[in-house]
Subunit: 293 residues, 2 copies
């Protein structure tokens, strides 16, 4: 654990298992949430982020997990860990529930603009991640678009579609285009898009879910709520954002996971579990052996 | 009413008021839903769309309303009605409920790629539309982006932001950037984006709303549903898509409205009401006098 030693020591004082299984390395620099990635990187060489990721470089760590400034984490990861040979741009992948299980969606905001080559990389990396987390399912890749026909969308999407259609792919099935209203229907489970569109879609979905939930809750009187308490709780549990806390930075020689800054211990434990699966399944090797050339 | 005469005559046989206040003009060509806009335009000069929009050109009609093929309707509108002087690209605007009332959102899919000039045009056209439909509210324009700070997003958004920030605007307030999760919070009411992003956001919101509603409904037992019947119904009514049925094609010398193809008589009546407000408020003149040069 890299961080403020006095804070961490106090936090784990009563946590016997954590205490016995961890070492605390003090890092004096603190990176603020609103700091620009560049300034954080320049002046934060003694920060927890920089030190943790550097530990991967010298094989003292397999993976880094941080709840800090996303931009700084991405930039530091790129600077310290090399990009995998053949990959132009790393991407931020996240989990998004669907009717049948869980989607892997990328890019969620690391790259505002993407080429067809980038989207192809995202397809194979996202499929490798899906296999790592849900090993018994076949990754089904779809490109997020504004129509289902081959001629719809921008040039990058059309080009990516035509390459994927004729490529021999062995680690996923290609399902073509999907539209925004199909993200959650469960017919596909790896959804590919540029970082701008992915970020807008994810946040629009969050906002809509909050709007609907809040309004329906307001509409239910106390007796209704009590009568359906358990089934409503079950649904709420299923969509509990802590259960899919953790965005994965894909495309580097080592894995880095970003936890939501405002999650709690339970949310953070799910991220640790995700880290564990990523390492156990050897995600980086999976990515390297499945790139579409 | 332009369309298949025999069908229409039968439909309004018992509708006295409609019969007395309308004239039926038979149009033999039928445009199919899956027909390409180009082929529809080439071979559909005797279709209801072509004829209705042409009637605007010779002052026999003030506005056209159609529930047919969107692409064909957009292309025909552009071909028949001139683009307003100073506007490069017309856009498709729609209504999207928020916590306090209704947003006007554009572009919803007419233009996959947009320049800063396009987004500026959309801002003033969207504000004019908002004033036409909700005359007692001040239009508050926001640009949909992946962050709130001035340096976030792509070059087009940054340029649009900087122009709007220093422009003297008199028909709306400029509220800066918003992210996807703020679309429905009601702080702004005119949301500007390119047609690709707007279409993805709208459909993602639709899909999410359906997902949440369906799952919560499944979680409520029959007694809960009955106990909260009226307040749930009130919420459902508020979000009834028929109430904001109708996308408006903005930027041409005449207004054209597209109804959802699968709506019913009630949904269509809301679109007619929208057409009425657009004409009464003189939307086209409002747009012309408020362009940001």
């Amino acid at each position: 654990m890299y961080g403020q030693k006095d804070v961490l020591v106090k936090e784990i004082a009563n946590k016997k298992i954590i205490k016995e299984n961890s070492e605390i390395i003090h890092t004096p620099d603190i990176i603020k949430d609103d700091e620009s990635p560049l300034s954080a990187t320049k002046s934060g060489k003694e920060s927890s982020m920089w030190k943790a990721i550097s530990a991967q470089k010298v094989n003292r760590a397999d993976i880094s997990l941080s709840a800090g400034n996303t931009g700084a984490l991405l930039l530091m990861s790129r600077l310290i860990l090399n990009t995998i040979d053949g990959i132009d741009k790393p991407a931020l992948a996240g989990l998004w529930p669907n009717n049948k299980g869980m989607n892997v969606v990328l890019d969620l905001g690391a790259n505002v603009e993407c080429s067809a080559k980038n989207l192809l990389d995202f397809s194979s990396m996202g499929s490798a991640l899906h296999r790592s987390l849900y090993e018994h399912e076949v990754p089904k890749v779809a490109l997020l678009n504004i129509g289902l026909e081959e001629h719809k969308g921008n040039d990058v999407l059309k080009k990516t579609f035509s390459i994927l259609k004729k490529s021999k792919i062995n680690n996923f099935e290609f399902s073509g285009f999907i539209e925004g209203n199909q993200i959650m229907n469960g017919d596909v489970n790896v959804i590919i898009t540029d970082g701008f569109t992915g970020n807008i879609a994810l946040k629009t979905a969050e906002g809509t879910a909050n709007f609907i939930t809040k309004n329906i809750k307001k509409s239910l009187n106390i007796f209704s709520l009590l009568l359906s308490y358990y089934s409503l709780k079950k649904f709420k549990d299923k969509l509990d954002p802590r259960k899919f806390n953790g965005a994965i930075f894909l495309g580097l020689e080592g894995p880095v996971v970003k936890s939501h800054g405002s999650t709690d211990a339970i949310g953070f434990s799910y991220s640790i579990d995700m880290c564990n699966k990523i390492i156990k399944s050897n995600l980086i090797k999976k990515i390297k052996t499945n790139l579409i050339i």
